[in-house]
């Protein structure tokens, strides 16, 4: 399908919004570090149109009819994978999914071998998750197919970063001078890293809050190196959430305790759990996000997670819309 067919004016005029996408240059979506403000805004603009489609009874549009999108997950995931697959199906694409945690990869097949197989099957884009940082970059260099990074090690999770910022904008409108706090295991979080890059265009303040053992040593220098002046680091959560507009809690994996990075779950909960008594020290209208999957009772209390301030369900819905937008931009036309 050529771009003109998938663009407004032909079959999909009624189903898709029509911003100019001529300046979109990305063949892959690997991280948000190379997304300009215009490109990020374009994703959001298209995603808004997708939200409308998601509100319909019949959600399916033919934009990517005839295209095949593969998901290849080298690490277990249910949410992100389901979200991408649904996004592809709503756009009319065929999807295949390879669970690389169980397939031949587990038998010692190399990453590049597995990907070449997929390329030989002539799919139009590969959505890839991998436990090693940088794996999608190897894929992007080795293959002719477009790669969408669905999470690589501790490095990046661009679609999550986009859906998070999309959700923030949806709630707050202009993000200028707003304050967002990300609290939790910053050291191992690809979500935090992609949010650092994605939020840099919007004039907002981003506070990263964690115990010192969960902040990588080189973070302040990295922020300085790239002039990411909107980001600050704070170890005390109660100070961090003062005047915050949004608090995003990150999952704490149980292994962090076993490896000694936190001394006990009890201590972590005391210092960093988002719960009602903690929120008493924040603005009354503060909103709460979480990229999932949650450890309820650890980094977030259930009453907050399912309470009125929670945006967690909106994040899930927006995730499908944002991923539809990305698939449209990547697989929808000439940029293939």
């Amino acid at each position: 399908m050529s771009l003109s067919e998938s663009r407004p004016g032909t079959a999909t005029r009624e189903t898709l919004p029509g911003p100019s996408i001529d300046f979109w240059k990305h063949r892959h979506v690997l991280d948000l570090d190379d997304f300009s403000r215009e490109e990020t805004d374009l994703v959001f603009e298209i995603a808004e149109g997708m939200v409308e489609i998601l509100d319909r009874d019949v959600k399916k549009v033919p934009t990517l009819r005839g295209k095949t999108i593969a998901t290849m997950f080298f690490e277990p995931s249910t949410r992100t994978r389901a979200s991408f697959e649904l996004a592809a199906k709503y756009l009319g694409a065929d999807t295949i999914s390879l669970d690389a945690t169980k397939s031949s990869v587990a038998k010692g097949e190399s990453l590049i071998d597995s990907l070449r197989t997929l390329q030989a099957l002539e799919v139009d884009a590969i959505i890839m998750r991998h436990p090693c940082s940088g794996a999608p970059y190897i894929a992007a260099r080795s293959l002719d197919t477009s790669i969408i990074n669905a999470g690589d090690g501790c490095h990046a999770h661009p679609s999550q970063g986009l859906l998070d910022i999309f959700t923030m904008k949806q709630q707050l409108g202009d993000l200028k001078d707003r304050k967002v706090v990300i609290v939790g295991d910053i050291m191992h979080s690809r979500v935090a890293r992609s949010n650092i890059w994605g939020t840099r265009h919007y004039g907002m303040k981003l506070v990263l809050c964690a115990p010192p053992t969960l902040i990588p040593h080189g973070l302040p220098e990295m922020l300085e190196k790239y002039s990411l002046n909107h980001v600050t680091i704070e170890h005390n959560l109660d100070s961090a959430i003062e005047n915050a507009d949004i608090i995003m809690s990150l999952r704490l994996q149980k292994e962090r305790q076993q490896s000694g990075l936190i001394s006990s779950l009890r201590e972590y909960i005391q210092g960093y759990q988002i719960n009602m008594s903690r929120l008493a020290g924040a603005k009354p209208d503060v909103l709460v996000m979480h990229p999932g999957p949650m450890n309820e009772g650890t980094e977030i209390s259930p009453d907050v997670a399912y309470g009125t301030r929670s945006l967690i369900e909106q994040q899930v819905t927006n995730g499908v819309a944002v991923r539809m937008a990305l698939l449209y931009l990547i697989a929808g036309g000439k940029n293939r």
């Binding site: 991280d31 990453l111 940082s133 794996a135 690589d152 490095h155 040593h217 080189g218 220098e221 990295m222």
Partner: protein, 443 residues
């Protein structure tokens, strides 16, 4: 050929051992340096026209991996030695992490047998293990290894964590007057790390190896050196802190020496994410830049260069570590550490001379007299009577690294495609040409 004589004409002769620098000739007879001077003629001798070239003692490498026995897919003694000769090396010390490791006299003899059969033109000196199987638990029979020809002891990539074991090893080594060559790394602190702990690691989402992991072990070893009176050689030192620790130890008169690698002197951790000339956004995650100790910060490089200039650092060693393509063609976190370094060492190091960071004479001292002093075997000089180990260099010649031309089986280098200025034109080992470049003029 060994008994025939060889005359090198009109070379710029630099012998760091005697501090001599002159333009002249070198006559080699019966494998030894016969005389140096002007207008030497020798009827019937093969003659090398070395005008425009530098003649210096053959390079000595204190740290390399030849992989045989056990990992012949990565390198053999024959291919490793050929690569070494091309790099200008006449003496190389091979690390014991073969399979089986060099932890008993039988296997050391086996390696020396292969070396004399397959690589007669490079002097290969084995380094013995400190502990059996490099497992860090039981000391090897160090006297037996010394008699078998080991020039020092090291568990290299698996450094001895147990301080008591290391202390006992040093007491034994002190009696044998051989150095303990330590890869200094606190493996509890570095555990799981993939690259230097710093901003690049955060940028790439990789786990960092802090400088402290090296410095803690350097400090421990220096304390043990003081306790036991042993000779300690800190190999492939990579941080500013380690350099200062060694400097202080030397000032206190302790028998501490150290070496650094060409890559740790010239590349920073930024090389892991950025290959020359790639677009800014394409993060490289270049597994060829994965090495242990990792490429460090610009401040560390600055400190290492200061260490070379002020004599804190005695030698430059390649840590030549060949690996197969498959071991590098994978995720950064799964890639094995190491750089195939023999064939690029001189060209890479010359960049420091061309930019004025160190003098040519200092560089050559680090490649010859410096390591020779640690080996205490009389090599590293052009004095008449010495074994004729000579390297001929063209410091101005430009060339481009192409791994397809490597003599080493290991194609793993971050310098592939780099334009270097400085070429080894010929290597003479015991009076025989062990390598020569096409441009060598010989009659």
């Amino acid at each position: 050929m060994k008994d025939s004589s060889l005359l090198i004409k009109n070379a710029r002769i630099i012998d760091p051992a005697t501090d001599a620098e002159e333009t002249g000739d070198i006559l080699i007879a019966e494998g030894k340096i016969s005389k140096t001077g002007n207008d030497i003629s020798a009827a019937g001798a093969a003659t090398i026209d070395a005008s425009g070239l530098i003649a210096c003692p053959g390079f000595i490498d204190l740290h390399c991996h030849l992989r045989q026995p056990g990992y012949e897919n990565k390198e053999t003694i024959a291919t490793g030695a050929a690569a070494a000769a091309r790099g200008g090396y006449t003496t190389i010390c091979c690390m014991p992490n073969t399979n089986p490791p060099l932890d008993n006299a039988g296997i050391v003899n086996h390696v020396r047998d292969i070396a004399s059969r397959d690589a007669p033109l490079v002097r290969i000196l084995p380094v013995g293990c400190i502990t059996g199987g490099r497992a860090g638990r039981e000391l090897v029979n160090m006297a037996e290894l010394a008699s078998a020809g080991c020039i020092g002891f090291s568990d290299d990539g698996s450094p001895v964590s147990d301080t008591r074991i290391m202390s006992l090893a040093m007491e034994n080594a002190a009696v044998l007057d051989l150095p303990i060559i330590d890869h200094c790394e606190d493996i509890n602190l570095s555990q799981g790390g993939h690259m230097n702990d710093g901003w690049v690691a955060v940028r790439l989402g990789l786990k960092g190896i802090p400088a402290a992991a090296e410095e803690i072990m350097v400090a421990r070893d220096i304390a043990l050196c003081e306790l036991t009176g042993a000779r300690l050689h800190v190999t492939h030192m990579s941080t500013a802190g380690s350099t200062q620790l060694v400097r202080d130890a030397k000032q206190r008169g302790l028998k501490v020496t150290c070496d650094v690698t060409p890559h740790n002197l010239t590349l920073t951790h930024e090389r892991v994410m950025k290959v020359q000339d790639t677009p800014r956004t394409a993060l490289a995650y270049d597994t060829n830049a994965r090495v242990n100790p990792p490429l460090r910060s610009p401040a560390d490089i600055e400190a290492l260069i200061r260490g070379i200039t002020d004599g804190t650092i005695d030698a430059i060693a390649t840590d030549h570590a060949p690996h197969t393509i498959e071991e590098k063609l994978c995720e950064f976190e799964n890639a094995i550490s190491g750089i195939s370094g023999f064939e690029t060492a001189f060209g890479v190091l010359m960049s420091l001379v061309h930019t004025g960071s160190i003098s040519l004479k200092t560089l050559l001292a680090c490649l010859t007299t410096g390591p020779a002093k640690i080996l205490q075997n009389g090599t590293g000089t052009l004095r008449p009577g010495a074994r004729a180990d000579i390297t001929l260099l063209d410091t101005e010649r430009e060339w481009t690294v192409d791994v397809k031309d490597f003599l080493s089986k290991g194609r793993n280098t971050p310098f592939n495609g780099c334009k270097l200025k400085g070429l080894v034109v010929a290597t003479i080992s015991g009076g025989c040409l062990s390598f020569h470049h096409d441009s060598l003029r010989i009659s």
